[in-house]
């Protein structure tokens, strides 16, 4: 009867620290969720496992943040967007674009991982190099 706490956030952060993006995969209906979830968003099963997902996607919306919180003031202006992964799941992330490259709808991007940081905030998106 008693449930152990499943540390989903920790699993995600640990994976990011290993330069991987993970999702949860439902053992009952195979639905993948990114970020991972303890309960399947489709069938509510809690039989979930983790799976590493392709770190590529396209940009579906974005903003350039000029007025930032204290911890991000030094980085402003910075580009924040929502990336739709190849499997259709979505993540919010920072875009790091080469000088002169502007964000655009459906721009293909891939994940990069900031070296100096820890956990979820390491994730960056850069233009996809085929």
């Amino acid at each position: 009867m008693h449930r152990e706490v499943v540390q989903i956030v920790k699993s995600y952060e640990d994976a990011i620290n290993q330069n991987r993006i993970i999702g949860s995969i439902c053992e009952d209906c195979e639905t993948i969720s990114v970020p991972p979830r303890a309960v399947c968003k489709k069938c509510w099963s809690d039989k979930i496992d983790f799976t590493t997902v392709e770190p590529q996607g396209k940009l579906i919306t974005w903003t350039v943040i000029h007025i930032a919180p204290p911890t991000y003031v030094d980085k402003a202006p910075y580009i924040l967007g929502i990336v739709e992964l190849l499997n259709g799941e979505r993540l919010t992330g920072l875009l790091r674009l080469p000088e002169g490259v502007e964000p655009e709808f459906d721009m293909e991007v891939e994940a990069a991982f900031e070296e100096s940081l820890e956990g979820a905030q390491r994730l960056r998106w850069i233009p996809y190099h085929k």
Binding site: W62, T63, I65, I67, T71, K75, L80, L94
Partner: protein
């Protein structure tokens, strides 16, 4: 559930109010509301307080008991609710539920916030904390940023552009001219709005509501009791609350808020009303795009049509549906916890002919839509004339 009514409202000046606590502000608004309702102080059974974060803004938790304390109302229940920028609407709703249940006969619902103690970047951070800390905030999201992403998605799909958004700001500033309690009483132009400081591209300074101190309060009683009272009153036709994912990216469609759609539909069903029955509405224009999206999600306009309708003047006084006659968050100001309560205050004043220079004519039904986070909480209310 019993039918419920509102029989008094109060609201402080909204603005930059100096050395004063949210508790003093809430107490002031509550006293005004109780005086208008002409209720005996010993008749107050309970208090609800909507407030975002006295923790961060004032180094004070457990804000609710402080209000009956300052009112001299000893030992009555006082409950804080928090739902980001929807905290005030939710306090009103919990107050309504507690009276509708039969538990209490007289409840004062208050909303309050004292924000201007902190510098802007710290306020930006505090508000951002209403988004998902792990998947959004740790990456540097801000609330203007979240709504900017909504605005860009909406623009892509429906062509809702900067001029349409600016038209919301211009209209709400114009409405606010006639609200003496609003933070701003000044007209702006489309050009000025479009060329103002970039906050989170494509949203500029004039797309954003300001940082504000203030409080508002309402007195809630059973409708049977309200009917016997001499003063101004309105009936609660219905209320509804909905939630959605914390992270914007977890929703299939970000050109609207499903929470507004769900809450508004429930509110209409419970009141047995249609959107065309509503004479005016106070929606949550924390950002100009939020007003447009709200009007579409409630159903005043088809998806994608609110921008051009606003440009055409359909949402102003005398238009198809007067929206944010109070000035909205944009011009009235946005003291977070107070905002949802102040929307109810405006509906009350309009339905009772107490809105002074901004009084609308022949209004029978008024609606409010109060939003928290990036739409993760929505609270809607519908009210009707009490006479």
């Amino acid at each position: 559930m019993r039918e419920v009514g509102i029989v008094g409202v109060g609201m402080t000046k909204f603005g930059v109010l100096g050395r004063v606590t949210s508790r003093e502000l809430a107490t002031t608004a509550a006293r005004e509301a109780m005086e208008m309702a002409n209720i005996k102080r010993e008749d107050v059974d309970a208090i609800y307080n909507g407030i975002l974060s006295p923790d961060i803004f004032e180094h004070q938790m457990h804000s609710a008991p402080g209000i009956p304390d300052y009112l001299g109302l000893n030992n009555i229940p006082s409950t804080r609710v928090e739902a980001a920028c929807a905290s005030g609407g939710l306090a009103v709703m919990q107050g309504i539920i507690s009276v509708a249940s039969g538990l209490y006969d007289t409840v004062v619902a208050t909303g309050s916030e004292k924000m201007t103690n902190l510098p802007t970047s710290h306020v930006t951070e505090a508000l951002a904390m209403c988004a998902d800390d792990v998947y959004e905030v740790s990456l540097g999201i801000t609330f203007p940023g979240a709504f900017a992403m909504v605005a860009r998605a909406h623009e892509r799909k429906y062509g809702t552009n900067a001029e349409m958004r600016a038209a919301v700001a211009v209209k709400n500033h114009k409405h606010g001219l006639h609200n003496p309690l609003a933070q701003f009483q000044k007209e702006i132009t489309i050009e000025k709005a479009m060329n103002s400081l970039m906050i989170a591209d494509p949203l500029t300074l004039y797309d954003c509501s300001p940082i504000t101190d203030g409080a508002a309060a309402v007195v809630i009683v059973p409708w049977e009791k309200a009917k016997k009272m001499d003063g101004p009153k309105m009936k609660v036709s219905s209320f509804a609350q909905a939630s959605d994912t914390m992270s914007l990216h977890d929703r299939p469609d970000i050109t609207g808020f499903k929470t507004t759609q769900v809450a508004a539909r429930k509110a209409f069903e419970r009141a047995n009303l249609k959107v065309t029955d509503i004479d005016f509405v106070e929606v949550h224009d924390c950002f100009t795009i939020a007003e447009l999206v709200a009007l579409e999600d409630i159903g005043f306009f088809e998806k994608g049509k609110a921008g051009s309708a606003t440009l055409a003047g359909d949402t102003t006084r005398g238009g198809y549906i007067p929206v944010n006659i109070s000035g909205g968050l944009k011009s009235k100001g946005h003291p977070i916890g107070a905002t949802g309560v102040s929307q109810v205050v405006e509906v009350f004043k309009q339905l009772n002919g107490m809105a002074g220079q901004r009084q609308l004519k022949d209004v029978n039904y008024g609606m409010t839509q109060n939003l928290g986070g990036s739409g993760s909480t929505i609270v809607c209310h519908i009210f009707e004339r009490g006479d």
